[in-house]
Symmetry: C2
Subunit: 100 residues, 2 copies
Amino acid sequence: MKDFFSHINKAFENKVRLGVMSILMVNDWYDFNGFKELLGLTDGNLASHLAKLEKIEFITVKKEFVGKKTKTSYQATKEGKLAFKNHLQALETLIKGTKK
Amino acid sequence: MKDFFSHINKAFENKVRLGVMSILMVNDWYDFNGFKELLGLTDGNLASHLAKLEKIEFITVKKEFVGKKTKTSYQATKEGKLAFKNHLQALETLIKGTKK
DNA sequence: AATAAATACTTTGTACTACAAAGTAAATAA
DNA sequence: TTATTTACTTTGTAGTACAAAGTATTTATT
């Protein structure tokens, strides 16, 4: 693939990951159940997408007890935020700069 | 999937189709070889994505001779343009409207 | 003590997708 | 006649998305 796509990030081609990252751009921490409800996903599907974002270090995880219940929360990393911004920028460029 | 994603269009989750549609938003007609060069794709890959966009009626095809050579050109349909605009609008909303 | 419910997963299986590479057909050029 | 171009189609492989079911741990209910 070419220059044309150099900042279009494969990680953000999927709508679940796009949703997760969007949420984490404006919320410092967001928990598993929060994503699940807001995005309307099954546990497995959500978990697999979160795992992918974690693996490439675009998000980090925190586990804690709130009262007596477990809670797993996620935060975008610096690199994740940067990659997401670049992706959005690339989309804008793509849409605006292709007049022959 | 939820409301949250209602205008995120599966057709535009792929970067090739995103590129093709972006180009067709600002160029009335664009030909096969033009896409191939600009996007840096193999024939088969390009053809398959164009076929997908044609199947869902987001683009239309025109075949002609220019001099002695064949030329196949593509144009976005009204529905294609609308869907693409809605997709972009949805992305914007997604990115801006998720503060808890 | 036994059963049920919640949380945050993992595992499994299926259907679909992206892509390169090779093959095809029809026309033109050397 | 052989090579080249155009615009594909076919084939095969590796990867992806997703639901559903299963798991471990803890807490709540009977």
